[in-house]
């Protein structure tokens, strides 16, 4: 679990998608979210599905990881599908069981919206599966650069990201330790009436917060001592490089959007 925490959902690899510049991938995903809405009939939804499959193949991500990522939203997907099946009342009646009537249009809409949802989840998951959080931060930092004029603290964002990456495993450790320590002292969180259990949470959270604030103060002092003075004049260890393939990928997306537009009704 610790490993999962540190790397996020990133799965290292050397596929075509992995090698793309994070900036290109982030732009791609944001544009894709808009492109999905062009589809409105069977042909366009089929194209959308085919295109997504192509991206999945190119990313060499095992389907298992994608399906796994789908789990939290599966209930939502089913719920949405059923919502359309039962509440849309257009077209011919396909099925009638008692008072439940399933209409043709409802089934069509249900399938279309499910595809839209599936495709969106897959493409956005692929971004986070093929790009490490640090690369995403670096990419976002550059993409957000124009907003620096609007006083958006772009450099600070990237730094804080590294700090919280460092803090997450530490705090998880800490929570586990405090929990054990309080259990050893007889604090019982897992049984008894709700009120009692809520009361038992207090001795868990107070030390957690206090130690977190103490650590924060220590870290800030340590940073000062090492000469941290904001983003000015900083040089970078990780450099981003925009290659021809990054431009190509965005062009392919533009062509695909044109294709969808051509076939939509």
């Amino acid at each position: 679990m610790m490993e999962k925490m540190i790397f996020g959902r990133y799965i290292p690899g050397d596929s075509f998608v992995h090698q793309l510049d994070p900036r290109a991938k982030i732009l791609f995903v944001f544009l894709f979210i808009a492109v999905v809405f062009i589809a409105n009939n069977a042909v366009t939804y089929a194209l959308l599905l085919a295109f997504t499959l192509l991206v999945i193949v190119l990313s060499k991500i095992r389907l298992y990881f994608l399906i796994n990522g789908l789990k939290p939203v599966l209930i939502l997907l089913i719920f949405t599908f059923l919502l359309h099946i039962f509440f849309t009342r257009e077209g011919d009646v396909l099925l009638e069981i008692g008072f439940i009537e399933v209409y043709e249009e409802g089934l069509r809409q249900g399938i279309f919206i499910s595809i839209r949802f599936l495709v969106l989840v897959f493409i956005t998951s692929i971004l986070t599966l093929t790009t490490s959080p640090i690369s995403i931060t670096d990419g976002t930092e550059v993409l957000l650069h124009p907003f620096k004029r609007l006083k958006l603290p772009v450099h600070e964002l990237a730094l804080m990201m590294s700090i919280s990456l460092r803090f997450i495993p530490t705090l998880m450790d800490e929570t586990g330790k405090i929990l054990k320590a309080q259990t050893a002292r007889g604090s019982d969180i897992s049984s008894g009436p709700l009120k009692e259990r809520l009361r038992a949470v207090t001795p868990l959270l107070i030390p957690l917060f206090v130690s977190a604030f103490k650590r924060a103060e220590d870290l800030a002092t340590a940073m000062e001592v090492r000469g941290y003075r904001g983003g000015e004049g900083r040089t970078r260890y990780r450099q981003l490089e925009w290659a021809g393939r990054d431009t190509a990928v965005l062009l392919v997306l533009a062509v695909f959007a044109g294709l969808l537009w051509y076939f939509r009704t």
Binding site: L83, T124, F167
Partner: protein
């Protein structure tokens, strides 16, 4: 006890670290159910922690911490509930609740700064809960309408009926957050 000279720069750096740290704490809050189970239901203390962000860090830093939490979650760190994360959360109907944390942290912070008493802190927490439910539920409804093109049968009332289930639990937790924040404030102030 050491004496620290608190310079302008130091308080800037400290704020930065606080934001990063609170977003990590939020991750613990969102997934605390993997440590403890209350009444068989996995609970999330996200709202509880978001309120504390406002109470302890103050309106501006608290809101910044919550905005940052949303940001790292979207960037793919598994910091949201059930260790989820990634850009796909953006289209989840429950993303509105994550956005509401930003606003509620600011509001609770402002109220608590104005009225630094137990009553003030609890009232601030309750306002936070109202923002959380009001904003989150409306967003959820809008998301169903927009992303999933929900048909007419999915009514506004249905969205709210859904939210009535966790409400009693959240109400108790919110009052607890207010009292908790009041008790914690002088302790953590030593490190600010």
């Amino acid at each position: 006890m050491t004496t620290t000279v608190k310079t302008e720069r130091h308080s800037q750096t400290l704020k930065l670290v606080h934001i990063a740290m609170f977003s990590a704490l939020m991750m613990i809050g969102a997934n605390i159910s993997s440590y403890l189970v209350i009444g068989g239901v996995p609970i999330t203390l996200q709202t509880f922690f978001a309120i504390l962000a406002g109470l302890l860090l103050g309106s501006r830093t608290g809101a910044a911490a919550m905005a940052f939490y949303a940001f790292i979650g979207l960037a793919g760190l598994p910091v949201f509930a059930q260790f989820s994360g990634g850009l796909d959360t953006l289209i989840s109907p429950t993303f509105g609740f994550i956005v509401s944390f930003i606003i509620l942290a600011y509001a609770t912070g402002k109220i608590a700064e104005r009225f630094p008493t137990v009553i003030g802190f609890v009232a601030a927490a309750l306002v936070g809960l109202i923002i959380n439910y009001g904003f989150g539920t409306n967003w959820m409804y809008a998301a169903y309408r927009f992303w999933f093109a929900a048909p007419e049968g999915f009514t506004y009332e249905m969205a709210w009926a859904w939210m009535a289930v966790p409400f009693p639990k959240d109400l108790i937790l919110t009052v607890a957050a207010g009292i908790f924040g009041y008790r914690l404030k002088p302790i953590v102030s030593k490190y600010m």
